[in-house]
Amino acid sequence: MSCTVDGVVSALRSVVAVVDEHRDELVTLDREIGDGDHGENLKRGFTAVLSKLDNPGETPAAVLKLVASTLISTVGGAAGPLYGTAFLRASSALGQTPELTPESIVVALQAALDGVVARGKAAVGDKTMVDALTPAVEAAQAASGSVAEVLSAAADAADQGSRDTIPLVARKGRASYLGERSAGHMDPGARSTALLLRAFADAAS
């Protein structure tokens, strides 16, 4: 992708398609240890995002801010404020830059993670999206090369991180009510984080 506004917008279009495609999978994961709405919540949110992409603003930061406010006002649940905060912080971190660089991607991902942790107070190992986003940030920092390569490293790590949530006992979010019964299932938010990053990485390559 180009790393200007247009590139970000087209990446977001693929994100929307991926969320749509995996809606049922996310619903199923959330039924097992939550309340079954995660896929529907994200679908509702990203469908709303799609309807706004025709007027995305001037900078990558502006697009991400639009995504943030749209998610906050349409997703609801835990994922709405958390993803909303992630996109909002990423937007702030980018400042006025007209084009994304590998470095700015790393900064944005770090800011997103910090935002999620600030809002949700989850640590690694609590079986949440933080378990996907944390290794993603670390992998991005360690990676070298293009925006595509950085995002791809992040996506791979998030994917592994989401798988690693399977044996965990949840300590945050709705799954924590299940206690030991939450073990043996992948966290839906970790999975969606991995899917989102993969969609960005694919769009960038």
């Binding site: 039924r31 309340d35 529907e40 509702r44 906050i72 006002s73 649940g77 994922a79 709705r174 299940l178």
Partner: protein
Amino acid sequence: MKKIINDPSTVVGESLRGLAAAHADILKVRTEPAVVYRADAPVPDKVAVISGGGSGHEPMHGGFVGLGMLDAACPGAVFTSPTPDQVQAAIEHVHGGAGVLLIVKNYTGDVLNFETAAEFAEMSDVAVRTVVIDDDVAVKDSLYTAGRRGVGGTVLLEKILGGAAEGGYRLDELEALARRVISSVRSMGVALTACTVPHVGEPSFVLGDDEIEIGIGIHGEPGRRRVPHMPADQLVRALLEPILDDLPFGSGDRVVLFTNSMGGTPLVELYLAHGIAERLLEERGIVVERRLVGPYVTSLEMQGMSLTVLKVDDEMLRWWDAPVRTAALRWGA
């Protein structure tokens, strides 16, 4: 999935239209974002009491909007907490100059969304306080969980606070009363069957013909343990004992007893269970001062019930007894 709906994605909006049509004398509904508010809002110089949460728990919360209870309710998608802009719209719509009290059930999503809205409201100079109710003893309250869930106790809290707000309590006083109620109320529930969320289309869990799930929440989430079905005497005891042991409640305590249907349990069974609960409390020397029996905090068509016990004093009873005029609870008005 057989439901009386047109399309899973329009259920909440269409249902709110029906609610508005049915109770135009009590409440109004606005959409985009969705808010149910008192027909006579804003009430000048009264603290506005606002709550909200996922839909599918009807009559909570929309059915509790009206004189002596809530000024507004923010209905999310089915089993999904509302968004901050719904809460902001509610605050703007109903605050009458004496501040706003937000009643939030303790779920990560609800807490985060209301928190965001409260931040915005503070920026626009409306005094906002938030109280979080977490009365479900089925969930272990520890550093290693999201804490206890808010369930049946919410109704008692909303009634008492709504009464006190109508009676002239200032924001500080109301918040203090809320914290006392929250620390004095405990609940526990059981599911005999699961429920089906419209956009999911399948039951949220599957129970065998002779299995029940003890310690369920109100979102179709699985509970703490699955056990063989048992006679009502035993079942009511299995719900009541953890409640009584938790606070704990003891001989001489005065309580409000709330026997709640999860939606699909018929009244004939619910009253039967209520009678058992009354007897068990009496055996322990606990004095039931008031009671509420019915489907008030539901999980769609789920069969099952919950018990809520609130330890009361004269102040709480006074506002419990105060007039209320809502779609679902009404007395003295």
